[in-house]
């Protein structure tokens, strides 16, 4: 809902995502702050920053697949893994230029993901979620057991000297800017997708697939498309992850990671791209914060072992996720939207 007094006299204006000058200004300031952050903030923030950006790409993909199209996906981190391996192999073995390798990672993950989305042709609901668990198991099996020459077995794959536009991506700062740029592109793309014909089809299928079918939407194809897009985003995130860590191995992509991605999406709010970003930032910062606090606590009170403090993080965040599901199932973004609307209408109730 726009504030009172905001109206448009052209179709283009009515369609625009960023609607007022103030929004443009806020976005510009925000982006500038993000770009300048590596110079202003301590080293640690930079590495934290790119972790958040990369995770955000994967969560946006999950948001499209689960939040918009309503298909529970427990294999997002396996899809990330496929992208990471594909990208790492392309860079280190075949010496493909970085942007191409990244896209190739996305495409590989999308192919793998749509393979599991294919079962949407036969089944629906939670049964579909089970196939994504199978995706996780199969990814682990293939990465570990195919010949060592292919995926490096348990050792994984190393990336040497990823370069982009002549800049070596070995430093944390370079990785930060690169992943920020990719996230910006992917987020913009996601806004486009969810407003498009396909995005509206996703929502229709999520809300009622029988009705959606009656309206002429090809339900099966739409579900597969949702998996395809979600897995593509995961693949891009995986590729970034491989570039950032310069090493890919299976343990980085477990079912538990997928579950965390779902948790971020829930906290942010299902069915909102901004929600995916907000949820990722909040949960990642909370994890980092608790970890930092944990180290400090463990030093002050040596009685409380460091392990216990780290473990309590899981308890805390698990509780937060469940509390969100119980009391704020639509997530933070919904709460922010209602607050915004209430502020605009004040003092009137509606």
């Amino acid at each position: 809902m726009d504030a009172s007094g905001v109206y448009f006299i052209s179709y283009g204006g009515d369609r625009s995502l960023i609607r007022t000058r103030w929004q443009w200004a806020a976005l510009a300031v925000f982006m500038l702050a993000l770009v300048l952050l590596p110079w202003l903030a301590p080293e640690r923030w930079v590495s934290m920053g790119y972790t958040v950006f990369i995770t955000a790409v994967a969560v946006i993909g999950l948001q499209i697949c689960t939040g918009y199209a309503g298909q529970i996906n427990l294999g997002q981190s396996a899809f990330m893994g496929v992208g990471a391996y594909a990208c790492a192999l392309a860079i280190s073995r075949w010496h493909v230029p970085l942007p191409l390798a990244l896209v190739w990672g996305g495409v590989a993950a999308a192919l793998f993901g749509s393979l599991f989305g294919l079962s949407a042709a036969r089944i629906k609901g939670f049964y579909l979620a089970l196939t994504t668990i199978a995706a996780q198991a199969l990814f682990h099996f293939f990465a570990l057991n195919l010949p060592q020459k292919w995926f490096g077995g348990p050792g994984g794959v190393h990336i040497e000297g990823a370069r982009f536009l002549g800049i070596d991506l070995a430093s944390d700062r370079a990785t930060y800017w690169f992943s920020l740029a990719v996230l910006a592109v992917m987020a913009a793309g996601a806004f486009g997708i969810v407003r498009s014909r396909h995005g509206r089809a996703f929502e229709a299928v999520r809300d009622d697939d029988v009705a959606a079918g009656m309206m002429g939407i090809d339900v099966t194809l739409t579900k597969m498309r949702a998996f395809l897009v979600g897995a593509f985003y995961a693949g891009i995130a995986g590729g970034l992850w491989a570039i950032a860590l310069r090493h890919v191995s299976v343990e980085q992509f477990t079912l538990f990671t997928s579950i965390w991605l779902i948790a971020m999406m829930i906290v942010g709010g299902l069915g909102s791209i901004v929600g995916a970003l907000v949820g990722t930032v909040l949960i990642q910062l909370a994890r980092e914060g608790v970890a930092g606090l944990g180290t400090a606590l463990a030093q002050t009170f040596p009685v409380v072992g460091q392990e216990i403090v780290f473990a309590s993080m899981n308890v805390l965040l698990g509780t937060v996720v469940i509390l969100f599901l119980l009391f704020q199932p639509k997530g933070l973004m919904h709460r922010i939207e209602t607050l915004k609307a209430a502020y605009r209408r004040w003092p009137f109730p509606y």
Partner: protein, 293 residues
Amino acid sequence: MEFLNYVLNGVLVGQLYALLALGFVVIYRASKVFNFAQGELMLVGAFTVWTLVMASGLPAAAAVPLAFVAALLYGIVIERLFFSRLIGESVFSMVMVTIGLVILIRGLVLVIWGGMDRQFPVLLPTAPLIVGELILPTALTIGAAMTVVLASALWWFFNRSRFGLTLTAVAEDPATAISMGVSVKRATTLAWMMGAAISTLGAIVYLNGRSLTLVSAEIGLAALPVALFAGLESIFGLLLAGAVMGVLQALVGAYVDPLIGGSASSIVPYVFMLFMLFVRPTGLFGWRTIERV
């Protein structure tokens, strides 16, 4: 003879899967919730058994029943805290809560018991049972017998007893069940109690004398395909499905693994699950209510 041995061992392992899947099915039958935290439920049960038997110094005969009482309590707590608030909500959010439970329970286990490896108590004899040329693990054999007994009891409960039938009614259509005077709350509580207790039994059979870590929870997921193969509502079907899956896995483990030098047997359940989902999503004996597209 070697072949027969593999097959029999497969059947026994399959019954273990069936036992773990039973915990899943019981919850599903009473509340239509896919419990993704099944492995974690087993983990809590396992750690409780470990604490009571190894750490508290109680005799096993007293500790094991206590562990089951504790499991029943866990079921009540989970239902009271989370699922009683979700009655009438969509199944989607209930399933999401079980995903949150995975994180929560893992964290709790880490906080309370720490991350180190532990030796699970030997509650069932470990010496193999030798019949002629056949060598069978005793723990699994006893476990298989318990699975059959338990499945029979549960079958009677769900299909013959009045209370069990109310659970079935809740699973089929909660709204109608409420309007007919069935307490959905009581049904879900009982389902989670049974689910937790069965998981504890599964832990005793599975982990007997092995090391216990967070990774042990993964067998919970390997049991899912068995439940699916049987058809999620079927109880006796689990025994057959477990046996088929176990034999399949044992044979792949015996004849394919050496060929490719890898653990192909570990993905058998998942490949089988994918196959089942395509060919017959209702499983062998499930209610034919799964909506096909």
